[in-house]
């Protein structure tokens, strides 16, 4: 495993896009802490980066990279290596490189400006979101032979979680506003990794936001130690499931 991870990792880190991504994250993070006089606002800006930029870059870069390394994968498959090892190595190297970018770009300013529970929580969630969208990239790449279709699928997946899913929730909320749907809605919301990350962070950052009955319910479900553990676990499951499905498919794929 190590040898292949090393080889792929060194190849990815040579890629200029990763460098540019790190730089953009750094500029966004440093400027958001620099411009806002209170750290809470800087944190909110970084939260927006985590919820918007990180998923988009992660899924797109990973998808394109997977397609571009099809030759490499073919070469490896004809060698005495387990298929699952190849795929897992590719996943580890891709996630690792994007996570390193995130940690350098956003992590350093975050830990310098907010070296507390919230800062660390933010880091963990950023890392998980990166891994989730890399995992989703594997899912979309393995089920589309065609590169253009694969990238298209990835964009749709991103758009779905960033925008469309919330639109559906809003629609449901207003359709069923006469019924007590708070609890089911909390469940539904936790089906989207971006929403889960957003709400978990808001509970810590911007308590004024989470008010009223819904806010109280959320605090009850997600605000305590168990809640944090459960939502981190859910995010972790989001990393695992798409990747495991893609791995299953890759094991029997004809190259």
């Amino acid at each position: 495993m190590n040898r292949i991870v090393k080889i792929i990792l060194s190849d990815i880190l040579k890629n200029k896009i990763v460098l540019v991504y790190t730089l953009i994250l750094a500029v966004l993070s440093w400027s958001s802490f620099g411009m806002e006089d209170n750290t809470a606002k800087g944190m909110l800006t970084i939260l927006n980066v985590i919820l918007f930029t990180v998923p988009l870059v992660s899924i797109l870069f990973a998808t394109i990279y997977i397609y571009n390394s099809s030759e490499f994968i073919e070469l490896l498959v004809s060698q005495p290596i387990k298929r699952s090892k190849i795929w897992i190595s590719l996943f580890i190297s891709l996630s690792l490189s994007l996570i390193i970018s995130f940690l350098i770009g956003s992590g350093i300013p975050l830990l310098i400006n907010a070296p507390d529970f919230n800062g660390i929580m933010m880091l963990i969630i950023g890392v998980l979101i990166t891994a989730i969208f890399v995992s989703l990239a594997f899912f979309s790449a393995i089920f589309n032979r065609d590169k253009a279709r694969g990238i298209g699928t990835s964009i749709v997946i991103w758009l779905f979680f960033a925008l469309i899913f919330d639109g559906l929730i809003l629609f449901l909320l207003f359709q069923f506003s006469d019924y007590p749907i708070e609890k089911p809605m909390i469940f539904v919301t936790s089906l989207s990794p971006i929403d889960l990350a957003r709400i978990q962070m808001l509970l810590h950052l911007d308590a004024s936001a989470m008010m009223g009955y819904t806010g109280a319910l959320f605090k009850e479900y997600f605000g305590n130690g168990i809640g944090i553990a459960v939502s981190l676990l859910l995010l972790f499951i989001w990393v695992i499931i798409p990747f495991v499905l893609s791995l299953k498919k890759f094991k029997t794929k004809d190259l």
Partner: protein, 410 residues
């Protein structure tokens, strides 16, 4: 003759005002006995120690003075101190553990239908009601510290409770952990000044039908539901601080049926809803500071002719909320940190009006569960598009003279 007169005067004075000492080392061991011995105008000095004497009734016009913080213990069975005389002074006692009863409302100190009573420098600990003025006039409650420990509203009484009284001064008390910190019902022409009311289970300050009262430089912090004022006219609230009143229906300040009042130069920090206005009219809200609240103001459509001028709105989740499309209040010359307009003529007033009511605030008002989507990408998009092309929010809900810089309020 001359000497005789002086001697007579001396005797009559000493007759009128003797000082009686109560304590272990003194002849009089019991407070009750001391009171029984005293006459109008006497001073009763109670020395440090624990006195478990049940209900102590003061029915003479005396100065009731504690030296070395004597403790009067109600043993959870009695009202501790009942005042049935005018011009009594109660000073320097620690009064603990009065009884709990829901009909008679036993108190640490209760004044029955009297005037000119002064209650100061006392410590009240673990009482049901703290200090209770019933039908009292021209009384002063000053420098007392009140603390209670219950968790539920039903187990607790109010800290300072006034009913059907007038010309009361409540100054520099600290109230912590009661049901309502300060409670007024039918209290007129009174002043509440420099009190600190914290961690009370219901309201930090609660009043109804109490006209022409003034509240200056008080601090209300972390109370269950903030401060609620109702059914009252001519209220003045200056320089108060409303902090961290959190919860599902908690308010920094709830104004319900308040008219002709003036709310000036107060600070609202980190409240769920800094000011909630319902059915109130002709009030002026001026030069207040709103920092980091959930809602800075929620003005229900049942309110009219209120003026909101020269306030600072900084770092609030929502600047405004309302439940209807009818806007009969005016908003002018405030500073809004969310304002994104420009100032070409450099007069420090924005050239385009500001709409303090966001689309999301309207959505939340209709469907509180939509709070789930707070700070999501979609909501940000909706809010931005609504700012450009208002369609759902009322278009006359505007500040025509938004300030470019925060007003220098202290």
């Amino acid at each position: 003759m001359k000497y005789f007169l002086i001697i007579l005067l001396f005797f009559s004075l000493s007759l009128k005002a003797t000082t009686i000492h109560v304590g272990k080392k003194h002849e009089v061991k019991s407070v009750k006995k001391g009171i029984a011995l005293a006459k109008d105008g006497d001073t009763l000095i109670v020395h440090g120690g624990l006195y478990k004497e049940g209900n102590i009734k003061i029915d003479k016009r005396i100065v009731f003075l504690g030296k070395g913080l004597p403790v009067l213990d109600g043993e959870k069975k009695h009202e501790v101190l009942s005042i049935h005389a005018d011009s009594v002074v109660v000073d320097g006692f620690k009064i603990i553990r009065c009884a709990y009863a829901t009909i008679t409302d036993p108190c640490g100190i209760k004044v029955y239908n009297r005037s000119h009573v002064l209650i100061q420098n006392n410590v009240l600990d673990d009482n049901f009601f703290g200090i209770y003025l019933q039908n009292a006039q021209k009384c002063t409650i000053k420098n007392n510290t009140l603390k209670a420990y219950g968790k539920e509203e039903q187990q607790l009484g109010n800290g300072i409770h006034c009913w059907k009284s007038n010309d009361i001064l409540i100054i520099a008390n600290r109230i912590d952990g009661h049901r309502d910190g300060i409670y007024f019902e039918f209290v007129y022409d009174s002043l509440i000044w420099r009190n600190i009311s914290t961690n009370n289970v219901r309201y930090g300050l609660h009043f109804m039908f109490s006209h022409s009262d003034t509240y200056i430089t008080n601090i209300f912090r972390n109370n269950g539901a903030g401060v609620a004022v109702m059914y009252t006219k001519d209220v003045k609230m200056f320089n108060n601080t409303f902090d961290e009143n959190w919860g599902a229906s908690a308010y920094g300040l709830l104004l319900k049926d308040i008219t002709d009042s003036y709310i000036f130069n107060n600070k609202f920090n980190s409240n769920t809803s800094a000011i909630y206005v319902e059915g109130s009219s002709r009030n002026k809200i001026e030069k207040n500071q709103f920092n980091a609240n959930g809602w800075a103001m929620q003005i229900q459509a049942s309110s009219m002719d209120n003026e909101v001028v020269n306030n600072n709105f900084i770092g609030n989740t929502f600047d405004m909320g309302t439940n209807g499309s009818l806007v009969l209040n005016t908003f002018d010359s405030n500073y809004w940190d969310k304002y994104e307009g420009y100032d070409l003529n450099k007069d420090e007033i924005g050239d385009v009006p500001y709409h303090p009511l966001s689309l999301f605030a309207v959505l939340i008002e209709n469907n509180p569960s939509a709070m789930l989507l707070f700070r999501s990408f979609m909501i940000t998009l909706l809010d931005k598009s609504e700012k450009v092309l208002p369609s759902i929010t009322p278009d006359n809900f505007i500040d025509n003279k938004p300030q470019m810089k925060p007003l220098p309020l202290l």
